[in-house]
Subunit: 439 residues, 2 copies
């Protein structure tokens, strides 16, 4: 992509109502534009990152054995009457009447729809376990939407739903998601801590939230330092094997958000030098809730004894659009966003300091083509603008590498590369520069 | 993917309210499930095809220089009051009030939103041309939704919007989309005919519809046979060059849908042996409408003379979800769907006739891994079911190739392959079979 033809409207100043740094930076970097309170359009750069985050979530869901479907944004109110949640849900549910005065709603979550799909087709324990997920826009009519995509109204969520024959099997499904979530966050360059959580309006009796560490986080988290350092289990675990030890390793160490925190227990379970207390952001929530929906909605499966019983379910949510805010809160500096390579909108920017000057254009083009060929998804900054303005906007939008082509270097047969995260610069022949970026 | 773990709920019979073949087959193949009138959930197989169609549309838009964004599903009514369309749009617009009694609507199209985005950032002819597109769910509250995804209420649309400094430039943008659309349909295995169209509620004075040929199509189309045979321009044309000759080649030959048909003109412009009269389905609509939105919404750009004028716009729509129905209407037989290879949910199915029998399992696994390695996106039919039932369901869902592994063949060192489209069968050693499928 050539920036002269792209659409990346960066701003010098963020609107004054953007209170937190991720919101300010997403607006300034030209990633999003507010179209109504809590409702955003995704501009090209923001959409590129959103798609990359979405794809990482998808890959980790697939690896853990979940199967992708897509449920509609609008749902029938009658389904929610079956589960008993329609009247309970409150004003956050956007209720809609169509032209025939039928009650619809914009799905804030999809337990009812997925249960309806499941019960229509699956009748036997032989077809279990099943985990169906989708990545779809949801709507929650927040009374006071704010913080950009962190608390928007229309937001992109990955929601998975597991179906099992009994509680023991359901816990195995829960464990798969628990570990898959840790892999997602690790690939996004985030340090995530699973904490026991309240089940809230979803219901059920086993639930964890995942909190990523960010100094500007909205909530406080208390955890045993060994848990923070433990890291994700990685892709190569046996997803069909016994995952309980890997989960227990992580749930046996103290971890709690402020709501669930118990200082006495913390002190009893973690020695003083292992007590970590930090700010964080909730970026995922998983639930086991057994028969809460399957019973009223009559989603029954025949067991090996031939008896039909309500299927045991869990649900597993990640706020995909919210994660972009979370990543920025966790990774930025005064100059702008610092994207992890895995989700950067472009892998590298080739900065042409003299667009239109043939010898410079040629080297810049050569660099761009080499990075393109190497699969680095580069962008060519061929904008007719001051070098300082170009560097500032590339720092702001957080491209991990800059490869700078200017008259002095070209005369000497070298280019400069700069690593966004560290500011480190090197002057190298072009080939070596490409190699360093692709290393 | 192993079918024993997948979720592909095929049905013997379609529900009686499914009137057209694509609707019947999508239900029977377990591609979609109706969640409300005109609102569908996409089951795994349907979603796979939808994503492939979407990706082809995306690639051809990018190739023609359009830039992807993503607009929200819900829009502010006030924007539609600015353009003057809010009161005109009628009952097809789903109007919504949020908890603060603000008027929202579920976007049936997005001219207003994209114009708002454009005017916020682009001020000069130097930043033109621009073409911004998105692939997003839309809602039109059809009075009588029917025909499955062909006339649904919640549907996936690719809508692109071009912005140019004057009418001549806008026609160049229009030409790029005109030709890009033909490339999209060709990659989907469809014969598409561009016909002049009414501009309807979008407005404007230049418009074409694209009609694909299908015997079961809803409308009638009359065209010069040379146009039907002419085919798409292909990817390698110079997208920044003069495309007018390629467009004129295609617009100078007679083509009309029944609404716009003029028999006398048809007879005057096409000799009798060149007159084609067939059934078709509308799958795309493009418009040039100049200042219709930019003027009331004050989307102005400064020209090279420094004077600000309303930008010239066009819009370009493809019903992505509708296309799946269109492809099926154009390509099926009594046994089920016949997917073009480009969008088949799986490229090939390895049919294990004796799951659990070690020697058969081994060959089936070897075939599956070979196709996986070759990038054919195969599926392994390891279901514990009668061979006849397995073949019937694979024919129904339309996998382009079956590679059949049974005890007799394995004993003789061969497998059978079957091409779905022709029914042609060959018995070959495994390696040759893989080669034939990947050819």
């Amino acid at each position: 992509m050539r920036l002269s033809r792209y659409f990346m409207p960066t701003l010098r100043e963020a609107p004054s109502d953007a209170q937190i740094v991720s919101h300010q930076l997403m607006l300034r970097a030209g990633m999003i534009r507010q179209e109504a309170a809590g409702i955003y359009a995704w501009l090209p750069l923001g959409l590129k990152v959103l798609k990359k985050v979405e794809q990482i979530v998808r890959e980790e869901m697939n690896r853990a054995g979940a199967i992708e479907i897509l449920m509609p944004t609008l749902q029938l109110a009658d389904l929610w009457r079956e589960s008993g949640r329609y009247d309970d849900y409150g004003e956050e549910m956007l209720r809609i009447k169509d032209r025939h005065e039928r009650d619809l709603l914009y799905g804030p979550t999809a337990e009812e729809v997925v249960t309806e799909i499941f019960r229509a087709y699956v009748k036997s324990y032989k077809d279990l376990p099943k985990n169906l997920y989708n990545i779809q826009w949801k709507f929650r009519d927040e009374r006071r939407p704010r913080f950009g995509v962190m608390r928007g109204r229309e937001f992109l969520m990955k929601d998975a739903y597991s179906f099992d024959v009994d509680e023991a099997a359901a816990r195995r499904s829960y464990n798969r998601m628990f570990l898959a979530y840790l892999n997602v966050y690790a690939r996004l360059g985030l340090k995530a801590i699973p904490v026991r959580a309240d089940t809230g309006p979803i219901g059920g009796d086993l639930s964890h939230e995942f909190i990523i560490l960010a100094e500007t986080g909205e909530s406080e988290v208390f955890a045993h330092r060994d848990l923070v350092e433990m890291g994700a289990p990685g892709a190569d675990i046996d997803w069909n094997g016994d995952l309980q030890p890997l989960v227990e390793q992580r749930t046996s160490l103290y971890a709690a958000s402020d709501e669930m925190h118990n200082q006495a227990r913390f002190e009893a379970e973690a020695p003083e030098d292992k007590r970590m207390n930090a700010r964080g952001i909730e970026v995922g929530h998983i639930f086991y809730f057994g028969e809460k929906y399957s019973k009223p909605m009559k989603a029954l499966v025949a067991g090996s004894d031939g008896v039909e019983r309500p299927v045991h379910m869990g649900s597993y949510g990640v706020g995909v659009s919210r994660l972009l805010g979370g990543i920025i809160e966790a990774s930025h500096d005064d100059a702008g966003i610092i994207w992890p390579d895995s989700v950067a909108p472009f892998g590298a920017a080739v900065v042409n300091l003299r667009p239109g000057e043939a010898s410079i254009d040629a080297v810049a083009e050569q660099a761009y083509q080499a990075l393109l060929g190497a699969g680095k998804d580069p962008v060519l900054d061929d904008r007719d603008d001051r070098p300082g303005a170009k560097f500032a906007s590339l720092d702001l939008v957080g491209i991990p590498w800059q490869l700078i082509v200017g008259p002095k270097g070209v005369a000497e047969g070298v280019v400069e590369i700069k690593r966004r995260a560290t500011g480190e610069r090197q002057t190298l022949p072009l080939e070596a520069a490409i190699k360093a970026i692709c290393a």
